[in-house]
Symmetry: C3
């Protein structure tokens, strides 16, 4: 399987909370970092997900918000990764920003050119990437 989504993270399912429609699934990555995903119960059943299973998280670059000065940010987005800006690709409307978050992992975001200018993003600068649990797709090999 090859997908267009720029961000994939491999880990182990460490917790599943089931509601009537959706489930919250926590995926523990190497190094103790976790990703929180909300998917439908049907998806949990289809994938046969249970604690301890190997799984991966897929996140589209367009679902990722870039922030700076987020040290004391209090936001509802359950997933946040901070690091160093590795690449910036500018277009007339959209800008792609890739952040190195350690361990050779990159998080890619597509934001507006206007936001990129406003935030003053530069390669080598510090920035954080955040995304909602509802933006995460889970997969199993």
């Amino acid at each position: 399987m090859k997908v267009s989504a720029r961000n994939t993270f491999s880990g182990t399912v460490s917790n599943i909370t089931k509601g009537a429609v959706n489930s919250e699934v926590v995926l523990e990555l190497k190094g103790g970092v976790s990703i929180v995903a909300t998917v439908t119960n049907g998806a949990v059943t289809n994938l046969g997900l249970k604690n301890g299973d190997a799984a991966f998280a897929i996140v589209k670059a367009s679902s990722v918000i870039i922030g700076t000065d987020l040290h004391d940010a209090k936001v509802s987005a359950r997933n946040m990764f901070c690091g160093t800006i590795a690449t910036i690709i500018e277009g007339p409307v959209s800008t792609e920003v890739d952040i190195e978050i350690g361990g050779g992992n990159l998080v890619s975001a597509v934001i507006t050119h206007g936001s990129s200018m406003k935030l003053g993003l530069k390669v080598g600068g510090h920035a954080c990437a955040m995304f909602k649990a509802s933006s995460v797709i889970l997969g199993v090999a």
Copy 2:
């Protein structure tokens, strides 16, 4: 009503599962294909949705992930359509990919230029479009 979202699908509501906050709504399209949407209970009430109602699903192109070699893919995304790539429009950051999924229907996706290159997408090639139930907006005429 005219909306910017590139993807609209007409169908009939075939199932509604209500939770405390969200409902899962299944829309059966012509030919037996289904689309799964999660919307708030408030939306179900506002629209007066019930089984057998005609409704349509709206999906933004930016919510759609393109994949290849997805034949044995196991992902949580509840909606997947496969077909032939009809159009590719390249930009410096973003690329639009339109997939013909039969019956004259197109699914449009906006992905990064980098992903398009990585996947080696070409007009006439086979590809699949997938999107989460939470990315679907429902409407009634």
Copy 3:
């Protein structure tokens, strides 16, 4: 905190409905307009959100759909703002559209160039911006 998301709205929490996994939070803005957000229960707990709290809503421009002739539209998207198109920035694939919704507030959307053409959007024209409750990130200062 500075984020790339183009749309932020300040308001007061006026209602929280808790489910097993997600909560629906209503944020009342000045002038009586409301924004509906669905976030995980974990996020509500992390932020300590309760009725009467000041909070803000963050929405990525890529989550916003632009519509015209929406006066009698019936869609599940819980959030809709109408006004006058203030800016259009065209790219080969993406187009940014900014709508003035009164009180000096702007809502920014990134849509495809093709949709912008199809809708015939022009600066000074009337249009509406809509987004799902699940696209909203909440924050507190």
